[in-house]
Amino acid sequence: MRKILKAVFVSIFCLIFMSGCTSLLPVFTTVNETNNNKSVCQYVTKQTTSNTNESNTTLLSSSISSFLDAKNSSVRVMACYSVNDNEYEMSSSGFIVDGEYNSSTHKYVYYIVTSASGIFYRYVTNPSDSIDIENDVNIVRSGTFEMYMEDGNAYTGEMVGYFDAYDVAIFKFQSDKEYDVLELSNDEVSIGDTVYAYGTPVDGYNLLNTLIKGTVSGTNRLSDLYFSETINSKTYSAVISSYPTFQFDGSINLGMEGGPIINANGQVVGMIGYRYGTNAGTYMYESLSFGLSSANLKPIIESIISTGSFTKPLLGITITDIYNVSEKENYEWIEDNQIYSGVVILKDGISDNSPAYNASISDNSVLIKLVSDGKEYNISNLSCLYSALVQINPSNPLSVTYIDSNNQTHTKVVNLQ
C-alpha cells in the first residue's frame, strides 16, 4: 500500500481583476511581461516518438454533432508523483484535441489537453511570509499519468509538453479504439451565450464527466492563477501567472479544470479554468467560473504537439491596465485626453535591445492595437494583449499602434525575432 499524505491538497485558485473586488488587490498593479516569460521557457525535451513518420499516419477529423457527443472524448487525467518517499496524486480533466492513426503499429495516438496547474504537483520549499513562485516553490512533472474514458477504458499516458503561464498541458496515449477529436471553434464566445462543460470533480464519488451548463457572463477577463499550500495551518500563496479568460456562471468544481467548454453545436469554445471562491474565506461567492478561450488554446496546442513547447512572443514592455495608473504622477494625460481603453506602457517601461526598443516605441504611452498577418487585434485591456500575443505568428512583422503622452497616435512595425 503506498502512503499518500492526506494533507497534500494543493489548492490552486484564481483571483480575478474585477472592479468590484479592488479591495483584494494592490492599488497599483504592474505586470512585467519579461518576468512572466522567464518561468515558461523551462520546457522539458519532447519525448521522441517511436517509428512514427509522416507517411504512415493519418490525421483524424472531428465528427462531433452535439455537446452530448463530446462526453466520449472527455478524459479524466490522474497523476501520481513520488516526492521524498511520499506519493501524491493529482486529478484534472481534459479532452482529445488531436489524433492520428499509425498504420504500422495499428494503433491510434491521441493528444489530450488538460490544466497544467491541475495536474502538476507544486509544493513550497522555503516557507516565508512572501513566497516567490520561482524560487520558493518546486514543481514536479515526472510521474505516472492515467487517462480514464467515458466508455470505461483506461490508458497510461505520456507528457508531450506544457505552457504553465496559460495553464495548458498536453499528454498523449495510444489505443486500439477510435475516439472523436474535439474541434476547437474559431469563434469567440459572446456574453449571453449558453455553454456546456464536462469535467470530473475531485472526490471519491465517481462523478466522471459531470455535465454543467452556464451562460457567458463576461469576456476579456484577466485571471491570476494562484498556487497555495497550507503547512501547519499557515497558508502560503503565490501568483503563477496572469492569463486571459472569459467568465461564465456554470458551477465548476475542483478537478474539473481542463475539461472542454462546448457550445450547443459541439464545438469547443474553451477549456475550464477555475472558479473564484473555492477556497476558505470566499464562501460568499458563487458561480464565478473562468475558462481559456479556444482562440488562445489553438496556437499553444498546435505548437506543443509539433515542437513540444510553446513560447509567447516578447515585446519587451512593462505594462498595466489604465485603471491602475489613474491619478498617478506622469499618467494624468491619459485621463485628460479621455483615453479609457488600451494598455499603458509604463514610463521607462521599454527594455533595452528588446523588439519594442528596436522599433522605437515610446514609453509612457497607451497601446491600442496590434496587426499581424492582416488580422487586427484591438487592445482594450491587458487580457486582450495577452490573448493577442499567443495568437500572432512571431515570424511575421507586427504592427503596433499606440498613443503617446502628447496624444499623438503612432504605428510602428516590430520585428519579434
Partner: protein, 393 residues
C-alpha cells in the same frame, strides 16, 4: 481510489432551494435564430409557460414536517424537529399516497403535510419506509384536504429509463422555513447512475443517483425533480458538502423515481398484507451491500483493474469478495443477469430489484460471469444458476 484527496462527506439533509432565473436557459434554443426580436419573444413565452408549469406542478408538492413528542409535567406536546418535502404520486378511491425520503421522517412521533393552499394536515399515516434506499411512503385521507391537489405523473416511458444527460430539469420543494415554501429551481441532468454514499456511516448507501446542477438545499429532501413534461424523474435527496477548505457547488443528487416507485409499491403490498395499523420497515438486502461487494470496472483505477485481472475489459461488474447471494467468487466479472447485459453496479442492483418487484421468484436467476482463475480472467463466459429465494427482504 483517490486517497490523496480530502474525503468529502455527503450531507443528507432536509433540503430547500434558492430560486434561479429561468431566462438564461433560453439561449440554446435561439442559437439558430439571428433576429433578436424573435429571441425576446421566445423568452417571454418560455417564462410564461414556466410559470404555468409551476402553478400546475406545485399542487402536487407538499411540505413534510417531522414532529417529536415531548412531555413536560405530564402534558404531552409535539415539537417540530425537521422539515422536508414530499409529493403526491398515487391515489385510490379514498386515499392519496405520497413519496418522501426516509430521512425526512426519521425518528418521527408525528408527521404532518402542508399542501399548496397552506392547509396543514396533521397525523398523516406513515405506511412504511426503507432506510437503506431512503424511501418513505405516506398516506392521507382524501376527505381531509380542503382544496384540489395534483397527483404528479412519474416518468414511466420504456419501463423507467434513465433521464438523458443534458435535459432541463426543475426541482420543487420546501425550505427550512415556511417563508420559502414552494421554491422552484432549474438546472440540467449532469450525470446518471452515480454511486454516492454517505461517508460517516452506512445507514444510507445510494448507488444509482441522478446528478444535477439544479440548486438543491436543506429542505428540498423528498421533493420531486421534474422533467419539462412535468413527469417526476427523481426524488431530491443529497448534495456534496464538505467542511474542508475546498468548497463544492451544485453537486446535487436525486434518487431515480423507478427504484423509489418499485420499493414504495413493495412497501404498500406488505402494508396491505400485514394490516392497516402496521408501519412497514422495508429492507432490501441487495440495496445495501452492492457498493462494497461489487464495483463497476469503469470506476476502478488502472492499478485496481490489475489487481482483479480485468485490465483488458471496460464494462461489467467485478465481485470484490465472494458473494453467497449471487454465488460468485471474488474477482469474477458479472456481465449479464437473465440475459440482460450488466454494465455497472447500478444496472446489477436494478435488475435484482426488478426480479423481486415482478414477484417472479419461482424461476432460477441465470448470472453470466467471466471467472477469474489465478488472477487471470477466463476467456469463456460461465453460467451460474441461483435460486431467487435468497433475495430476502
Amino acid at each position: 481510489m483517490i486517497k490523496g484527496f480530502k474525503v468529502l462527506s455527503l450531507v443528507f439533509m432536509v433540503f430547500s432551494l434558492t430560486s434561479i432565473s429561468q431566462k438564461k436557459d433560453v439561449a440554446i434554443n435561439c442559437n439558430t435564430i439571428s433576429d433578436e426580436e424573435i429571441t425576446l419573444t421566445n423568452q417571454v413565452n418560455l417564462t410564461s409557460s414556466m410559470n404555468d408549469f409551476y402553478n400546475e406542478a406545485i399542487k402536487g408538492v407538499v411540505k413534510v414536517s417531522n414532529y417529536a413528542k415531548t412531555t413536560t409535567q405530564g402534558v404531552s406536546s409535539y415539537v417540530k424537529q425537521s422539515i422536508g418535502s414530499g409529493f403526491f404520486y398515487d391515489e385510490d378511491s379514498s386515499y392519496y399516497y405520497l413519496l418522501t425520503n426516509h430521512h425526512v421522517i426519521e425518528s418521527y412521533n408525528m408527521v404532518s403535510i402542508t399542501i399548496h393552499s397552506n392547509q396543514e394536515i396533521k397525523n398523516v399515516k406513515v405506511i412504511g419506509y426503507d432506510d437503506k434506499q431512503d424511501v418513505g411512503v405516506l398516506r392521507v385521507n382524501k376527505s381531509e384536504l380542503n382544496s384540489a391537489i395534483k397527483v404528479l405523473e412519474l416518468l414511466k416511458d420504456n419501463n423507467f429509463i434513465n433521464p438523458t444527460i443534458g435535459d432541463d430539469v426543475v426541482a420543487l420543494g420546501c425550505p427550512g422555513g415556511q417563508g420559502f415554501s414552494g421554491t422552484l429551481s432549474k438546472g440540467i441532468v449532469s450525470g446518471v447512475n452515480r454511486i454516492v454514499s454517505e461517508s460517516n456511516n452506512n445507514i444510507y448507501n445510494q448507488d444509482h443517483a441522478i446528478q444535477t446542477d439544479c440548486a438543491i438545499n436543506p429542505g428540498n429532501s423528498g421533493g420531486p425533480l421534474l422533467n419539462m413534461n412535468m413527469e417526476v424523474i427523481g426524488v431530491n435527496t443529497m448534495k456534496i458538502s464538505s467542511d474542508s477548505s475546498i468548497r463544492e457547488e451544485a453537486l446535487n443528487f436525486a434518487l431515480p423515481i423507478h427504484d423509489m416507485y418499485k420499493t414504495s409499491m413493495l412497501i404498500r403490498k406488505q402494508f396491505n398484507d400485514f394490516g392497516q395499523n402496521s408501519v412497514i420497515q422495508f429492507n432490501n438486502r441487495l440495496s445495501i451491500s452492492s457498493s462494497k461487494q461489487f464495483k463497476s470496472i469503469r470506476d476502478m483505477s488502472i492499478k485496481e483493474r490489475d489487481v482483479y485481472g480485468v485490465i483488458n475489459k471496460n464494462q461489467g461488474v467485478v465481485c470484490l469478495n465472494d458473494d453467497s447471494t449471487l454465488n460468485v467468487k471474488r474477482g469474477s466479472l458479472i456481465v449479464s443477469i437473465n440475459g440482460v447485459a450488466i454494465n455497472n453496479v447500478c444496472e446489477l442492483r436494478r435488475e435484482l430489484l426488478d426480479i423481486y418487484y415482478q414477484g417472479n421468484l419461482t424461476n432460477k436467476i441465470v448470472v453470466q460471469v467471466y471467472k477469474n482463475v489465478n488472477g487471470n480472467l477466463n476467456d469463456s463466459i460461465s453460467n451460474i444458476s441461483i435460486s431467487p429465494k435468497i433475495i430476502n427482504v
